[in-house]
Symmetry: D2
Subunit: 453 residues, 4 copies
């Protein structure tokens, strides 16, 4: 009985990772791994661990019943253990869930999901970066207006704009790589028992913690972290920032796709983005949904940073809210990446229109370039004054700045007509654009090549 919009703000892959069924399987994985770790440590019989491991298979469980009974104890672990115990004999039952508390299972299962979700987002970011890198390379020298406060300011190239998107994507890849369990202890197991002392395990707690982390391929924390949630906040922050990086791309695309700008359009396979009653429209559907998904992701993620403290040794409410907020943030981040990549990947770029828009200000956009060119001859101050005068005249008389400057003897005495003409070629005033594009491409190359789980 899901809502219609639920499917809009996830992807099938991410949905599979966080489904109730997978979550139950992950909890079973934790119970099984715990038993094996304790058997390795000599705390429980190997046969018990084996029996528990055999039983921890999702096919044997009634997931709907677990969902339905979760509210009763404010924990899915209680109904899970009930079903699990039913499958064990007395040789295994006493060793099940030994020394563990519900939160150990739930937090660790969540981290298993986070581990898979992290890897999925990593792959999605590589796809987004690949599509973006293509644009950066292809349009490296295609000039367009750079815009500040939504006003044309100076020329850039579309390649540079794409390079900014790309460098941000590369930074997000770095961010996700840093979160890989082999690189940091953020995506870590939880194991502490009821109050985080591992009391039931006597002196063997640390050993079991290490073995358990190994079994599950998760990081090992210094201490149990039941009510120290900076790990969760860190993940949430990463999702908010990744979503923001996608939203930036999508926002630029919706702005460039405006009817009056029309420098890009999304690909329109049949049935997509069009409007039967408004035939001229080319709605940037994927960019719009990317913006929406990013907003949904951030709305779920930031409450995990802006949060009351978790009380004492287990929180009474704030923790339980995490159960839905963190998954939702992952779902919607994946959706944002999917929409963003679709938008970028199919983007139709109109470089003629870009240049036409650049020329729409009668050359005023190149005033700074003219001023820089005149400076060696007249000094910067005088050069600026000359250009400012010319700009006023160009505006008042609705003429091209170039033509006004050609009329000015102080200008033509300094630079000849060909040079002046060249000044108004936007590709001559691009500064470090090429180098920046190279840097972004190299960064993405490095980031995508870094080993990832």
């Amino acid at each position: 009985m899901a809502d219609l919009a639920d499917a809009l703000y996830t992807t099938p892959d991410m949905s599979a990772i966080f489904s109730a069924r997978t979550f139950v399987q992950r909890m079973l994985d934790v119970e099984a791994a715990l038993a094996r770790a304790q058997a390795q440590a000599g705390l429980i019989p190997d046969a018990a661990a084996q029996q528990i491991t055999d039983a921890c298979r999702i096919e044997r469980f009634d997931v709907d019943a677990i969902v339905a009974q979760t509210a009763n104890a404010a924990s899915p672990v209680v109904p899970l253990l009930r079903q699990l115990s039913d499958q064990l004999d007395e040789n295994a039952t006493p060793y099940l869930h030994w020394g563990a508390t519900s939160q150990d299972i739930i937090d660790t299962a969540t981290m298993l999901q986070a581990r898979d979700a992290r890897a999925l987002l990593h792959r999605q970011l590589v796809a987004l970066g690949t599509a973006t890198a293509t644009l950066a390379e292809r349009h490296r020298r295609d000039p367009m207006a750079g815009r500040t406060l939504l006003q044309q300011a100076l020329p850039i190239t579309f390649g540079l704009k794409a390079a900014h998107w790309l460098d941000a994507t590369a930074r997000q890849l770095d961010r996700l790589t840093a979160l890989d369990p082999s690189n940091s202890d953020i995506i870590a197991i939880q194991f502490g028992g009821a109050v985080g002392t591992q009391a039931a395990l006597g002196e063997h707690g640390l050993q079991v913690m290490e073995l358990l982390a190994g079994e599950l391929q998760l990081a090992q924390p210094d201490l149990p972290w039941h009510t120290q949630r900076d790990r969760i906040a860190e993940l949430a922050g990463a999702l908010a920032i990744i979503s923001g990086a996608v939203a930036k791309i999508a926002t630029d695309i919706t702005l460039l796709a405006q009817s009056e700008v029309a420098e890009v359009a999304e690909a329109t396979p049949p049935g997509k983005g069009g409007s039967s009653t408004l035939p001229h429209k080319r709605n940037p559907v994927d960019a719009v949904l990317a913006i929406a998904a990013a907003r949904v992701a951030q709305s779920a993620a930031t409450p995990l940073l802006d949060t009351p403290a978790h009380e004492h040794e287990r929180a009474a409410g704030v923790w339980q809210a995490e159960w839905t907020l963190l998954p939702r943030a992952f779902h919607a981040t994946a959706a944002a990446l999917a929409y963003g990549t679709a938008s970028v990947g199919g983007l139709e770029v109109d470089t003629d229109r870009m240049r036409a828009n650049l020329d729409a200000t009668n050359g005023l956009l190149m005033a700074e370039a003219a001023s820089v060119a005149l400076a060696p001859h007249h000094g910067r101050l005088r050069a600026q004054q000359l250009v400012e005068q010319a700009c006023r005249r160009a505006t008042d008389e609705a003429r091209h700045l170039r033509d006004v400057l050609i009329d000015d003897a102080d200008v033509t005495s300094a630079i000849d007509e060909t040079a002046l003409e060249r000044l108004f070629d936007p590709t001559t005033y691009l500064g470090g654009t090429d180098q920046f594009i190279d840097r972004a491409l190299a960064h993405f190359q490095r980031a995508a090549a870094a080993p990832d789980a």
Copy 2:
């Protein structure tokens, strides 16, 4: 493929209102009502309206296909109309969706859901209020410590605490009543056509708007409101505040249920709230989940108030994010109310423990009362000094304040021992408590009795 926690933060009733299936039905309701309104206005043939109405039945639609195709056009209306057209002949097809735009259908369908959800929350609040009123009445004279900054301060009664919960509940009822479509234009139809001019309807737009509102039992707005979203913000604000009122109750309960306070406990039917390994625990499960649900509700609601503007005549992203944020806020508010009502409704109140806790400070809690009683005899200033001295002695010597005061001739000369004894009866120092309880009860009575759709 829902997440395990999804079911935790909704109720079956609210889930039914916002399910994909119901949403599709609501969109169909809007299309049908629009056709009928236009037929009434003489704009389309009655037979066409009849045919459209007949076709708008959910059984005839493939909801899953609509869900799956929504992303394609960033709109569920496009696939909906495709299926709907297939069921009409050429006498009706041209009149379908006449003069409407996707957003008209989606916003109005959402408002139909909001109308039903509002009524549901109203019923839930009446249930919460009824349970709370019982506590306020029953424990009207049962003293307990009032606590400020979590420190015991002065006596109140548990009835007064419940009366505060109740009065807040009554205010939320008033809030919901004010949102009823017959009382305000918040829950209103949307009908404007592509850019809000109702252009295709020529001069008949306003008439159709009125007829449509009547057909759907929704309010009629002054103007179409495609990108003026204060209505949505208003609803979201109401949900955040209602959730907050529940969270207040639940927070007080978790604090009162602490092992060291132990003044209340939630009812524990078999299998609920207990812990097999920790037999002494009486987890306030419902209160904990109410806090969590309120937090989830607020997390979905406040982004609708803290929002970028909707651009021009239809927003590119912010609107589409509403599709999931508003339903989620309704879902979780309903859950918060359900948990809160369960917690309050089954609450076991230990009035002996309340009184014992009150006595734990050796009478210091009644210092202000002593000071007030001595004032007529010694003047307020001197009275305060006398009591402050006595408090210091009581603390230093670990004696009851009453016994220290009895030793003081300045005190006993003013009031006799019986009166002094009476001073330390907390029920004598409750000020307007009774009147406040009466006020809250009366407020709830009025609020619950107000006619509601």
Copy 3:
């Protein structure tokens, strides 16, 4: 030692209302009014009330010392009372602050500020509405493109766009009028004593509460509301929504002011909005700052809705955070209104450019109008097909849709050339635009005329 940006996100008027000095004066106003109310009720001597009233004048107080000592007791009332007591003799001292608690004074003083701030915002909204109404009236018939998802869709008029801004402004005026203390109990006094029982006043609490509300011209609540903060949330919600209404206007202006759209520009008095190095820029400075201020306002307001519960009878942290969040929300809302009004008030509107932009799609924007006009002759279905075909040809051949239609005998057989020509006049396809503008103007008239404190 304020930050540079502090001044940017307030106005001098709002700053005066919430300054430390004014807040201290407001706390003194409450202490004085409380004494007078208690004298009227016969609880304390008139002379004491008079002496207290005389002493409660800000000139006598060291505000900096109060600020500096506030952290010590987590309350400004403790140092305030110290300074105040120093000015009283023993005939008044014992009657000072009688039966009150710090929170009574702080909450009521805050509500006095809220009362003044509400009235100020009301005046600002009237100014914004007045400027907006001028645009709605003046540009009532000036056509421009309506835009959905930032794509041109169908024509509207600039007057209609302004009417939407205006109607939203009028709704905000209604909202503020509803919050006036004479219309609701939101802006209410707080008076309950330490735990909200008014215990020290015996049976006279309610009477004093009524007298106090009268003295301060604030509403009277049913019950003290120390830890029931829906009033604060309500105010915060209003500020978030008002800010959002301004941000909507400002966002539309920044989009319309884009170089490629250029339909509006902000007035540029000397030194404003220009850029020395980029002479062609006309930065919409006020709109940009309005957007920023609205965002700052919402960032401070929404945490007051998305909040943990206030514990028991006084909160340990959440309440103290309100002390800065609520003022900040008021400050920035005032700033948003000031910037928004400056932007709207000085707006230069280029109606030629609006029309030119409308024509840029070679008439495709009017396809729906053509389809509507052909329907009576060919039936709607056939009419739509004819127009769709024509649109495709117009696009493929880069011709005006009108010219393509003129070539089509099926079209010219139905409507003659003059009628066809007229079809492409956007002012003929505006539906209820005029009526909507009238409605918005009337709504604002009503809202602004409603009596306001």
Copy 4:
């Protein structure tokens, strides 16, 4: 004309870093460093750079005028440059601000503040950690109740609780160390010119960027980052998480300081925390303000993560909102740390009361320990059953669990009375507590010893 609460949510040190005066100085530092970097690169004359550097001294500037004129151009740089130009002659004026844009100056000046603020927070965290480490060490073996969902669960020691606070503090130190400009490129210069191409510098842009970073001791970014704000989001996220770590400590303290728990109290120097009318209260004033300050910090920080995209090459509103949100987040984080450290540093710990509270459940808290002890003799299942039975009897008969167990032959056959007695010593059931404390202490040692700027 600051608000009273402004001083409450900052510290003098942090206030000095972000004051208008310091911000103007930092902008001057950037202008001067830019001139020197360009002189080094041979782009401008040494003498001009020298003259500019000499002029960039705060004493020469009218800060109030800059503040007042900032709104005019939505930039403090315009009035700053006006004042700065007035002090230069024609040999230097043309070289001032060469190739830079307002945002270069503002962002870099902000990063200089962030650099100093980071170092300040680092020192504050060391102080907090030091105070916390003392508690962890001193109370290593002092048992207290571990509490889950605010219910007593199993014993921990107060040292372990402090060790959790400490380990979180150490993680925050690591976080801040990672943000040091020598360790990451988060706190980086901004230098790109109007649209981020460094066009005016031709091919020398990257060289100047490197020299400028060196001059200012900031990191050098790959690309200008005018509208890629993940750096700001990263800082904001860190502040939210650090504040959260403090709030956790403060929340635990307010809960432990409750009248009914009374295990800790804040130090009360004269005039602090007491209440004249309620002499028994020991308000945990600093903890309360720490919670409030953390909330204020998070409220300012999270909007920087939950943010609309920055448009094109400079944002129209979102960027300008950062100017106040980021400083406010720093201010309040510093306040939270100051209050938190004061609270922890002066904490009075009542270890007797801790033990008394532990004993309040008649030994039920140790049920798990009994079960573990009996398992080797009876098997785990039977052991659990035995203990559960005993728990029920203990509860029903209000006896101590130990006494009930002693009556049970199945128990005494397995373990003798001395061993049974020992079982109820909470210090025998602490698992890895000691090791965890060691780990936290070592972590803090390492973190505090790591070289920091």
